[in-house]
Amino acid sequence: MNLTADKQEVRSYLLGVLDADRKTQLEEQVLSAPETYEELLLVEEELIDQYAAGALSEHERRQFETHFLITAERQKNLRFGQLLKRYVNSNPAAAVIPHVENSAPAKKSLTFSMLPAAGRPVMVFSVAGVVLLGVALLCWLGYRRPQSRLAQQRDEPVVVVTLAAAAAPRVNVPPKGYDLKLELELANPSFRNYKSELFRENKSVQTHGELRVEPKGQQYIVPVTITGEVLSPGDYELKLSGVRESGADEFIEKYSFRVIE
């Protein structure tokens, strides 16, 4: 049986969108074929990772929340996936260590093997040149933003806090006259722009639109500046949505933090 087709089918099954006949066949396979059971476990974790990274389509995300996420066990697994994502995002250097010790002989370096021209020196230098130009462009783009951030910080003092989805850090009430700038970590920057809504104990406090994504190190962030005066000790949630080219918006992620004295 084709593995890719199976994976897709298992994915549809887990999201509750597989047709009834195939669903019955697949369930029988889950009981009788160990490889199907194992595939189910693997795809469950992959779906959790994709949800945590905001990589599911709108329809898939809805199915995930209403069908997949119904048991306490799966909610626990999602929490674990979010924590792991947070850890990986906080340790990007560890995630790209070029060497993995293994009993099997390593064939070639990962970075090198990913270059399509590997093995042809002239082509390697050409590709490397293009990569360097790309890196330089990214650095330039990344550099322009901090300049404006520094200017803003000089004119309007802000306290900057970086937020990951699975994190819930404590933030001190900003000093009088200061705002709180949240840098929302984002895995998949695929929207035209972004909007956010801040809640304090389920009550909407402040909304922001036309937010732009910015590169930060190896990640992307969406900066949102919260007016200092609206913050008081308590638990806050900030919901981030992406706005597509069509103008339609899509919920991406929820970020939590606690404001303390």
Partner: protein, 184 residues
Amino acid sequence: MNKDWELSQEAFDALLDWLDSDREQAALKYEKIRRSLIKIFTGRGCVEPEDLADETINRVTSKLKEIEKEFSGDRTRYFFGVANKVHLEHLRRKLPQPAPPPTTDPDRIELEYSCLERCIERLSKEHRELLLRYHGAAGPAETEHRRALAEELGIAPNALRIRVYRIRMGLKECVEKCIERSLG
């Protein structure tokens, strides 16, 4: 099934004998059937899949004498038939209740995260690096990144998925134990 029927040691032994004459193999088959039934009931949107899986197994066990006489063929398929009946009755009995939402208590989340950090530190260097590298790419680059990683390790992409899954399950178990210990 008689509602008062309870699974006795004798009945459970008879079930294991029916599943396999080798007791160790029978126990493995029993565990596998139970885990699969839990996945099936979860896939059908049941909030308490463990209860329904146990009810299915109890029902098969309580009728074992009749089944032994009448049924021949793949025994796991028999469980599937009974599971379908149990599910139908479950649907008639009550509307599914959603599981309680997970906690968003910041202290608890921070505790879980520090447990994760501790458990990752306790992984072997090889496992830690593999786990982090596997999850190190997102978006369109992810597939190519993992394919290249599998190639580098000299294994098939699916073998890499399974290898990382097992590391991840071990890590999850470590984190759960750490949380239990921390909460006393």
